[in-house]
Amino acid sequence: MTAPVEARRLTKRYGTLTAVDGLDLRVRAGEVYGFLGPNGAGKTTTLRMLLGLIRPTSGEVRLFGRPPGRLDGVGALIEGPAFYPYLSGRDNLRVMARHAGVPPGRIAAVLDQVELTDRAADRYAAYSLGMKQRLGVAAALLKDPRLVVLDEPTNGLDPAGMADMRLLVRRLGAAGCTVLLSSHLMTEVQELCDRVGVIANGRLVAESTAAELRGDRTLRLVATPLDAAAARARALLGADAVRVTDGGLDLAVPPARAAEVNAALVGAGIAVSELRAEERSLEQAFFALTGGKTDD
């Protein structure tokens, strides 16, 4: 079976600026693939090239083994939702269904899927950002796609909207749909994705499973006296695993060892005032994944 998404040496230059630089990407059938990177890393540019919205400077793209120009079985929401403000949500989907050549029966189905049926008769212009976003996903689902490309689907949503959107993505994945999702939120990608590609400055700097990303969580420790705590921690965990930062210690060990660390420190007469599992920030993840070689 051919991969839903395959890109080889994909490059896009705008004048002297290289937005995407020799990117190789392969998304396997049935997985939820997370495309992680800070703003301006080239995520959207890459997704636009995958969908044929812009032409790559060089390199090639295959969706289900086909060259660009055919998107049947592929649904996408790129750079936020865009619809006709004077039409209702349902009419917007009616327009898109006609463009896609899908039967109008799909409209009610996708509205139901994104839970927008109640407000489908309202004008798009009156929608909240969360509703617009959900309508965007609904439009992406019209073709009953085997591959869904979602570009920062939770961007600008409130926590409840984010939770809804994540649930929707999880359902898509569970239904056997291949999902390619871009995000600049570490936690989101960890929560949703089977595999994660990290992009920085137009290059894919690392690719790993979400479990590997999660395994790299660290412990944050605040204790007094700090120097004694550092010495004790180094003796216990090895010098490489301990870093002193901001009046505390960062311990590069799995959070499961917290109790052991705590017992050792308390036993040595050190007052432990804080000990918690810490999510790595995106910068830290980049640092770890690239071996410290981020370009900026």
């Binding site: 750079e79 403000p85 004077y86 039409l87 965007g136």
Partner: protein, 162 residues
């Protein structure tokens, strides 16, 4: 292709700006072919159409008069319609939504062009061609009750002067 044309028609028909343009067309046609000539007649100042006589301005001739005047500004109105239809897609960023539904740009663009032409057809066809036909410079029984008398008095290019 048919699906694309149906999609474009839905966008066009439901768009308030389309109907605003139609309303503007009607207002302009009444103003230029009826109100201004009447003012010229009533004022007796020898305006552009003072020679027309009152009977050509009576309500019975309204339809013919209005249609007769359309070609003067119809072109620019249709131009605005085209700009709105194509420009809106850029302004709202909806091209990307449409082109991810079907990436065949030529087909999508062609459907938009065809739809606008179809929309322009019913407005422009009854007015423009007869105006160019020399036979219409004299009353013709073929043109029917309402439009018949309107043509002889209308000359291309005379209305913008008013």
């Amino acid at each position: 292709m048919t699906d694309h044309i149906r999609a474009e028609s839905l966008k066009l028909v439901r768009r308030p700006a389309t109907w605003a343009l139609l309303a503007i067309a009607l207002c302009l046609s009444v103003t230029f072919t009826y109100l201004i000539p009447y003012a010229g007649y009533a004022g007796g100042t020898g305006g552009p159409r003072a020679d027309r006589g009152l009977d050509a301005l009576l309500p019975g001739q309204l339809v013919g008069n209005s249609i007769g005047g359309l070609p003067v500004f119809l072109g620019s109105l249709m131009l605005i319609l085209g700009v709105l239809a194509a420009g809106g897609e850029y302004a709202w960023g909806t091209w990307k939504t449409v082109l991810t539904q079907d990436p065949a740009r030529l087909r999508v663009y062609a459907a938009k062009l065809v739809t606008i032409c179809l929309a322009a057809l019913p407005v422009s066809s009854p007015s423009s061609p007869p105006a160019r036909r020399p036979a219409c410079s004299s009353p013709s029984p073929r043109t029917g009750r309402s439009t018949g008398p309107a043509w002889p008095t209308w000359r291309p290019g005379s209305a913008p002067a008013g």
